[in-house]
Amino acid sequence: MFHWLEKHPFFFAVGVFLVISFAGLVEILPNFAQQSRPVIGTAPYSTLELAGRHVYIKNSCNACHSQLVRPFKSETDRYGHYSLSGEYAYDRPFLWGSKRTGPDLMRVGNYRTTDWHENHMKDPAGVVPGSIMPAYRWMFTNTADIDTAFAEQLTVAQFFSVPYNQPVPMKDGSTKVVKMGGSVAEANALALAEAELIAADMKDQDVKDAVANGQIPEIVALIAYMNSLK
């Protein structure tokens, strides 16, 4: 049979294709059927948080940081509760990473704060002596792309029914509504309102001034995202 295949490239290719697609069918499809639903307490990203997530991706922070707490005592001690599938329901793409040159960030919002991030992103080794993380000073002057974040919110709401402007259940029994603007202008206003809260906790005067002038530096969006990781 194999000798015959080796003389008939078309059937050879079909054979190879069948053999290699088999595993995908068996291993991947079953999980898709039982799609990961959000766990209680998981809410979609706000416009500013999503813009911050884009800053994270743009700078490939995932090259050094994972976002996956494995179920080991040593990891839950360091980072908090192990990860649950449903917590990633709104993560497109997922950002688990595959290398921990720096610590896991899955729940960094629980134990780091706005002002700490501000100091740290400006000069990591100044805060953590011996740190090999690069400084990200340009984030303090680059402007975050709120429009694209808004476009992504619209896209996921339309194509994947991500519940914006709808109540989502929280752990304490309450509900939370993550707002999405009705227009580009409204989306920018929402993001700015959120940015003002962050900037209030920051020290950098240029950043504060920028936000006061209606501009959102990348660092503000990034910190909003970091703080949302819980």
């Binding site: 291993e27 999980n31 490939s60 497109r92 688990w96 290398k99 000073r137 340009w138 896209t155």
Partner: protein
């Protein structure tokens, strides 16, 4: 059997040889920079504070991986295909104007994509998925290039004179199909310009931005089904295709066993795809998938070793050739590193071992004993074999080649030993609790201990890069030397002193 000597046309092969070398230099140079940035973080500012956005570790890392995978390695795969394909199918590209055109089109479009990738990665346009960073406009271009490659490959097969397909061709076909399938599924994404606001605005935001079709755990599954098999169909399958041609050809030996070739090939095809779960151990994917990933990884040792053993046995009784020829040394040591990394991978795929190995430099060590010792060695050996034949000139210097071999071997050994120690040390420190049951180390303690190993790795990588530059120089001098070879050569490559 044909008696008329065929004039093979190596135009396209030569073009891809050039990109193999250039992108190899770029990719490895960036790799060396990355390695030293981890040892000496001030190097994030190599070109000054103003350009730090483009020269820092995290912006450069995807450039390294994509330059060596899709630049260096794929170019090598294309170059060897356009060389080996003609020869084992016994047809010349010159016989078909269409194929010649497609081959050139393949090259030029590929070059356009490479340029787009470099610019977009430096600009920070990425989807973050490892080895699939490109946004949708580039994805489309990639698919076009791949389809052209496929047509040109199957076109050549279609007009072949050799009825039955040589082993290498099996592997090239599998490369084409595997990557095609994986790439398509992993890059299902929706451009966000499709989003429409309640106010009726559309076309909002960056036009090239997209969002993955899959979320969270599902996205991870598809990504590592891809990522694992990108390794399979990029770093394993086409490289095996190369060794099955270049080792017997260079040494003049017949393949040790057809049956072993056959079982290894179909075994590899079947088993490989199942093993992807080993990238997701202890994650949130269901336990049974993780277990299957581990089991199949262990089984995968055998079809992998099958090819390597077949190659080593092909050299049976030919030790004098190994001793005399640096070209053959590259291939024999390459097979050895192939065996090494395909045993290392399964060991790391055992759940309890992965508990420590995952997320650490031990994985980076595994990656590089494979890519440097196997992929890199094999591609360089292939180009060394091709050079005298496509340029019709003797290889410029054999002693340079021998020196290169030893320098790079030392480089690889330094690279992976330092990363082993670094990875296992870091893994153990992360897990350690002290006498009070508290974590024994804060994260930064586990970073600062790695400094010496990062420095050693940098030196190892630098040695490898130096060797690669020697290779580039040797090929360059070969190309530009006075023409000496008049006719087609059989077996061993002629080498200068």
């Amino acid at each position: 059997m044909e008696n008329r000597p065929l004039e093979y046309d190596y135009t396209v092969a030569k073009m891809f040889m050039l990109t193999t070398i250039v992108l190899g230099i770029v990719g490895m140079l960036v790799g060396v920079i990355l390695a030293f940035q981890l040892a000496y973080p001030e190097l994030n500012l190599v070109l000054g504070e103003g350009l730090a956005e483009y020269t820092n570790f995290s912006r450069l890392r995807p450039l390294h991986t994509d330059a060596v995978i899709f630049g260096f390695t794929l170019s090598g795969v294309f170059a060897t295909w356009y060389y080996v394909g003609q020869r084992v199918l016994k047809v010349s590209m010159a016989e078909s104007k269409l194929l010649m055109f497609l081959g050139k089109l393949h090259f030029w479009l590929y070059l356009v994509v490479v340029a787009a990738v470099v610019v977009s990665l430096l600009a920070g346009v990425t989807t973050s998925k490892e080895y699939a960073e490109f946004e949708w406009p580039i994805d489309i271009a990639v698919v076009v290039v791949w389809v052209i490659f496929g047509i040109s490959m199957f076109g050549l097969i279609g007009i072949r004179r050799e009825k039955s397909l040589y082993i290498s061709v099996w592997y090239y076909i599998a490369t084409f199909l595997g990557i095609a399938m994986l790439y398509l599924f992993n890059n299902m994404e929706i451009p966000t310009i499709l989003g429409q606001s309640a106010a009726g605005e559309s076309g909002i935001g960056a036009w090239y931005h997209s969002v993955s079709m899959y979320a969270g755990t599902n996205d991870a599954l598809v990504q590592w089904w891809y990522g694992h098999n990108a390794v399979a169909f990029g770093f394993t399958v086409p490289i095996v295709a190369m060794i099955y041609y270049f080792l017997p050809k260079e040494s003049g030996q017949a393949i040790y066993s057809y049956k072993l070739s056959l079982l290894s090939f179909w075994g590899l095809m079947f088993v490989y795809l199942w093993a992807g779960g080993h990238h997701l151990l202890y994650s949130t994917v269901p336990d049974w998938m993780q277990t299957m990933g581990s089991i199949f990884s262990v089984i995968l040792i055998l079809p992998s070793w099958g090819s390597a053993i077949n190659m080593l046995l092909t050299m049976k009784g030919e030790w004098q050739q190994v001793a005399a020829s640096p070209l053959i040394k590259f291939m024999v040591l390459g097979s050895t590193f192939y065996m090494f990394s395909t045993l290392e991978g399964p060991i790391q795929a055992i759940k309890s071992v992965n508990a420590i190995a995952h997320f650490t430099d031990w994985i980076v060590g595994h990656v590089h004993d494979g890519v440097l010792g196997w992929v890199g060695f094999m591609i360089m050996a292939a180009l060394y074999h091709m050079a005298p034949r496509v340029f019709k000139r003797e290889i410029y210097s054999k002693s340079l080649m021998a020196a290169q071999f030893w320098i790079q071997t030392v480089g690889v050994v330094l690279y992976f030993t330092s990363m082993w120690i670094a990875g296992i040390t870091q893994g153990m420190m992360w897990r350690a609790h002290d006498e009070f049951g508290n974590l024994a180390y804060s994260f930064i303690d586990t970073v600062t201990v790695l400094h010496p190993y990062y420095a050693i790795r940098g030196i190892g990588g630098l040695l490898y890069l130096v060797g690669f530059l020697m290779f580039a120089y040797n090929i360059y001098k070969t190309m530009s030397a006075r023409r000496v070879e008049e006719s087609e050569l059989q077996n061993a490559s002629p080498m200068g002193a």
